[in-house]
Amino acid sequence: MTFVPIDVLVQGGQLFARLEQATASASVVVFKDILPLALIPPIFLYLGSLQFGWQIGAEDVIRLNQATLLMISVCYFLALLLGFIGLAILLRWMAPTYAATLEMSRHLTLVATVATPMVVGSIAHLYPHVFVNMLAIIPVLIWSMFLLYRGLPIVLRTTPQQGMLMASSLIGIVLVAAVTLLGITVVLWTHGFGPSLGL
């Protein structure tokens, strides 16, 4: 049995050949790869926030009580889990356009592959200072992009050319989704939900 996150970290050059051979079913991939990946960042966040507190912007260190922290971590876990599965569904929706496989397990495997460097980078949550977390983003994001473009055509069984198009489409959609989330959050703030703003 192979574990995608571990393969990403230790397999190097043979990684994609191994992923190409992967045969697990979709539910197995969810429990074996996606669940642990979604679990790790919230645990790091919980431990780091409990130990050091968050430092965002000009505010003093934010120390939350254990119950609030637990709730935030659980929400973070659920958001990651839904995000990962949502991405796999999105990839599967795009698959016919780019002549890729329709097997859901492979879409989930690709998401797990691309997410692994990000999850490794979330170790920076252990010291929740913005600067440390920003520094961690640089190598992790580049690594994830590399895995996405290189891995997509192999894992989803399409040509490198169509894989390139599909990966770029995914980046476009993810960026638009991210900025939409930011927009919705801000509209909620300006309508009185969340922090008290002088509007």
């Binding site: 000009a58 913005v130 050319q161 198009l165």
Partner: protein, 480 residues
């Protein structure tokens, strides 16, 4: 007497090279001022190295030096090929090339010396404004003269966009630059107060619209089908999108002035027209994506097409983010934050620069009749451009949303919780990341420059004969 049977491509080559030089200089200035926001003392106490002066050099260098030189080059190249005639008044085309770049160079020096009109993206003082008007008129004469001489009846869609660029920028530039000169280096705008602000952002936003969007769409509509070796997916959609784009863009400027001392209905109108703009913008994106999707085999051999694919993705982001930021209840938080800077750069790096890089990787080998020196370097450039843009956008989203939150936060007494200085001091991590992102993007551009220098080394522009083409339409007309 120039040969009427060959294209005038030498001026295109020179404009491409000058555009590349401006890319390095302008982006270099950008990276330096990004560093100044992390380490403020690296201006060494020199006024000309200060953020305020170098920032205008950065924007003018990349928009007018890199961007407009690239637009002139590609307009001259494509209008000849879509019209099947050489350039009208080729000497005037050379005048455009040299005078424009001289104006940007001297203008840049004047900005460093502290001359400024204080109008964003229109900082150059009145002597330069007059010079720019003359060069722009010459550009119009060459471009529309070539179209008037055309041997193909239909005017291809790329020429509609380049034509709109020339006409609208002329109109914007002349109206917004109207001023009363006091000395050689100082003038005061003819407009006052709120009217000045409205005219300025009518100019500013439509410079984004018709230069950075429309002009580069002209580039996309010619070079993407050429690259992909197939016609545009829907020509009808491209024409509908052109008119919808031209009509709605011109109203959008007031969204830069939300909650300012201009009539509220003007702000709301600007917001509504900005949201409507999403439709023609995304119609164009769909048209581009579908054109490439049908020609995916070409991606194997062509590193240039990758840049165009990515440019379309970032075009989709920027043209979605823009309307969203124009919504008043989003803008009240995002305005005066680095979110705006991030938005501009997702367009400028992700769309304008990427589409230009892709076009140049296609164009340069064809201009000099040689294969690209190194496809490997071009592929590395692709990765650096992607990483640089992504990190830039992420850092500014982080900085912008934090700023928006912190500017407006109230304490229990109803007072603002944080001072400006404290907030700015807390931005260092984001600004450091932005500096790294910019440096990564710049290093990619330098690789491209080296790649082109090696490709062009000891070569001259190939003379290409104008093919004898009987179009389907003219064949039908001949029979009739």
């Amino acid at each position: 007497m120039p040969d009427p049977n060959v294209y005038n491509d030498r001026v295109v080559t020179v404009l491409v090279v000058l555009s590349l030089v401006w890319a390095i200089a302008g982006m270099g200035a950008g990276v330096f001022i990004a560093a100044e926001l992390v380490w403020p003392t690296i201006d060494l106490g020199q006024e000309w190295l200060s953020y305020g002066r170098l920032r205008t050099l950065h924007t003018n260098g990349v928009i007018f030096g890199f961007g407009v030189s690239a637009l002139m080059a590609t307009a001259f190249y494509s209008v000849q090929r879509t019209s099947h005639v050489p350039l009208f008044a080729p000497k005037l085309a050379w005048f455009c090339c040299i005078a424009w770049n001289l104006a940007v160079l001297l203008g840049g020096i004047s900005l460093l010396a502290g001359w400024t009109s204080g109008k964003e993206y229109a900082e150059l003082e009145w002597p330069f404004d007059i010079g720019i008007t003359i060069v722009w008129l010459a550009f119009a004469v060459v471009f529309f003269g070539t179209i008037a001489n055309r041997k193909v009846k239909a005017i291809y869609v790329s020429n509609w966009f380049y034509g709109a660029l020339i006409i609208v920028i002329a109109m914007l530039h002349v109206v917004n630059s109207m001023a009363i000169p006091i000395t050689i280096g100082k003038s005061y705008s003819l407009f006052a107060g709120a009217q000045d602000a409205i005219v300025q952002w009518w100019y500013g936003h439509n410079a984004v619209g018709f230069l950075l969007t429309g002009g580069f769409l002209g580039m996309l509509y010619y070079f993407l089908p050429k690259h992909a070796d197939r016609p545009i997916w829907s020509y009808r959609l491209s024409i509908v999108a052109f008119w919808a784009f031209t009509y709605s863009y011109i109203w959008a400027g007031p969204h830069h002035l939300h909650y300012n001392a201009i009539p509220e209905w003007v702000q709301s109108l600007g917001m509504v027209m900005s949201i409507i703009l999403l439709a023609p913008s995304w119609a164009t994106m769909v048209n581009g994506v579908m054109t490439v999707a049908g020609a995916w085999e070409k991606l194997k051999t062509d590193p240039a097409l990758k840049f165009i694919v990515l440019a379309l993705a970032f075009y989709g982001l920027a043209t979605f983010e823009g309307p969203m930021l124009s919504i008043k209840s989003v803008n009240v938080v995002s305005h005066f934050t680095d979110w705006t800077v991030g938005h501009v750069h997702s367009g400028a790096l992700g769309w304008n620069a990427m589409i230009t890089f892709g076009t140049f990787y296609f164009l340069v080998p064809r201009l000099v009749g040689a294969a690209l020196y190194s496809v490997r370097l071009a592929n590395i450039h692709f990765w650096l451009a992607l990483a640089g843009t992504m990190l830039y956008v992420l850092s500014m989203w982080g900085a912008g949303v934090s700023q928006g939150l912190l500017w407006l936060s109230l304490d229990e007494l109803g007072e603002l919780s944080y001072g400006f200085r404290d907030i700015m001091a807390s931005m260092t991590p984001y600004y450091a990341l932005r500096f790294v992102a910019g440096a990564i993007f710049l290093s990619g551009a330098i690789l491209m420059f080296y790649n082109f220098v090696k490709t062009m080394e000891n070569r001259t522009t190939v003379v290409r004969r104008i093919p004898d083409v009987t179009t389907a339409r003219s064949a039908v007309e001949a029979v009739a």
